[in-house]
Symmetry: C2
Subunit: 377 residues, 2 copies
């Protein structure tokens, strides 16, 4: 009788309308019917990422999307600057090394993000072909100022590859206006779908870089996706059910309005941050992302907190990774989540902290959050 | 992007496991497979109603179950005492009159219930064949003391027909121990199913009454159901999907424990009652049922409150009926509902009251409810 509630930063909850759509009978992907469907989602994806460029869809996770970008778009013989402030930054540095790229890794203290000034100082030395940064680093719940970094990179001949997996559709992101060269995203966050789709949007500047590189693989060769999408098609078998679901979720996002979704996500994040102190917890990040909030446990509390929260209240949240394991929990504000269940989660967290002997007054955190959420629209 | 949340006192929310089970392919009902399924649910129904007698399942609503009881079990030529304290008591008096029965209607002020003493005084006059009472009157959110009434009726040769549609599986109800002769229930309340099944459990004393009455119809003739159930069968086409879903929901109820479900329902009701005053609302009933709570609106608030609550927060609650229309709202605590979403509902109610200009401090009602719900198990 315990209701499962998903507050993990991907996968996030999938709306019933999407689940039902994905449960409908299969049809073949080399058909006019599929092309029509794909044309519609391709158009909607552009609107969500705020770009006039094609958004390529890969049957794969967000990692596939980022690997495709790094493998295909970094000019050989030039350096790639990789910002590493968490598990995902670490992963992109590793991917770049696997492809034999000359990686200049900026190691950031966890909970901080690449500063535009740091990027500027590095790039001024010359020899860089690309900058890779994570817009919202899920492991530390930290966002960088992508707009400012894009401005710096735009003034050079390097391209900017942004991991927007946890930011697209949640944090303000205007690909064309800001001049981000490659935006990579994934289906299981703000897009309110199961995992299984990676998205890659590519600027003209980045296409020039890609055209100058011999693709080091087949499945993740972005040129193949570019060729197919011109005919509203995919180079390899399309994940038909996910694309069907994507149409429904994109329609929901666009009906609400992308900027409204950003505002709502920010409000949920602000509410959870406001609840932290009355619950005896602290916001971990020094530059918190609104996609996900990392809260440090009070003294004496460990990951047993999360187990109890799930067992007793059905609320699934994420824990810390690497050296933060057992030290904090992470709560998603992305996609299909709203004030009422965020308030419910905070109530469950307060009860659980009290059960664990923490000196909290259940209701204090909820009240602080409710005060923020009164502005929900 | 608004999540629908059902707090109406029937239909109530249906668990996903039940919905998925009901979505499975159809099979025929005159099969060993169906008999095996039906035997299992029949056994579980007895455990929920706490009776050794067969629980007959009718493809129909709770009204069908009650009509079958009234039509088949009230001895002709004797009076039937009908307690009318709301829309459902009123309906049973009407049903009894349609069948030409000699109805002695006890008109109760709405928000009060039949007292055992009233029943005793009436029955002492003699000539009664049956007493019809509503255990939990949904329209007024009021419960009677069914155990005490059963004790009174047991001492006479009349039978007690109890509308337990909104009480079975939510309020303490022990059919055999208490000596209730006929318990009628429905699928769309504590049984966590869509509407479509009526249940009738019949004591030996009531079967003797039924055997002495010529059935006035066919479909609602309880004797036909008694004959079929002996072979784990139904007299007419069985609603296969609902029976499949019922197996899943009964398994969930029995896994939690019927008495645990009663306790949880009572706690949710207590929490909402505790939140009433800080929200500027009043509990309507003078003998509140724990199945559903009726809260009187503050001065100046009308049913626009419910419309806003649904439009903005997706929370669907019921309004008042007859002369209570626009005066109060009703919130269900039955079935698949838990503390976190009840807290969420109260938050939404507080925001909505504030929007309507009521002088409430959002968070006050939620805090009062949270204090009660800390004992949830």
């Amino acid at each position: 009788m315990i209701k499962p509630r998903l507050f993990t930063p991907g996968p996030t909850g999938v709306p019933e309308e999407v689940l039902v759509e994905m449960a409908r009978p299969m049809f073949h992907h080399r058909t006019a019917r599929f092309k029509e469907l794909f044309a519609s989602v391709n158009d909607s994806l552009k609107r969500v990422l705020m770009t006039d460029r094609d958004v390529l869809t890969i049957a794969g996770s967000g990692t596939a999307a980022m690997e495709a970008a790094i493998a295909c778009a970094v000019p050989r013989g030039r350096k790639v600057l990789v910002a590493n402030g968490g598990k995902f930054g670490e992963r992109w540095a590793k991917v770049a090394r696997v492809y034999g790229l000359d990686v200049d890794e900026v190691e950031l203290e966890w909970g901080t993000a690449l500063a535009a000034e740091t990027a500027r100082a590095k790039l001024s030395g010359g020899g860089y072909g690309a900058v890779v940064t994570v817009h919202s680093e899920t492991s530390t719940a930290t966002a960088c100022d992508l707009e400012a970094i894009a401005k710096v990179v735009a003034g050079t001949d390097a391209i900017l590859i942004a991991d927007c997996i946890t930011s697209a559709g949640t944090l303000p992101l205007k690909m064309d206006d800001w001049g981000v060269d490659i935006v990579a995203a994934g289906s299981q966050k703000a897009f309110m779908l199961p995992p299984g789709l990676g998205f890659v949007a590519v600027s003209d500047k980045a296409w020039r870089a890609i055209d100058a590189v011999d693709a080091p693989g087949v499945y993740l060769d972005l040129k193949a996706y570019r060729k197919s999408i011109a005919a509203n098609d995919t180079p390899y078998t399309a994940p038909v059910s996910l694309i069907r679901g994507l149409k429904v979720s994109l329609d929901m996002i666009l009906a609400a309005g992308v900027e409204t979704v950003w505002r709502r996500t920010a409000l949920l994040a602000a509410a959870v941050r406001a609840a932290a102190e009355p619950m005896g917890m602290k916001v971990f990040s020094r530059r918190p992302s609104d996609s996900v909030t990392a809260l440090l446990y009070p003294e004496g509390v460990d990951d047993d907190f999360r187990k109890r929260l799930e067992r007793r209240y059905g609320c699934s949240i994420a824990g810390g990774q690497a050296h933060l394991k057992g030290k904090l929990c992470r709560i998603s504000h992305m996609g299909y989540v709203d004030p009422l269940e965020t308030i419910g989660l905070l109530a469950a967290m307060e009860y659980t902290l009290a059960d664990l002997g923490v000196d909290v007054r259940p209701g204090a955190g909820v009240s602080a959050a409710m005060d923020v959420l009164k502005d929900w629209q």
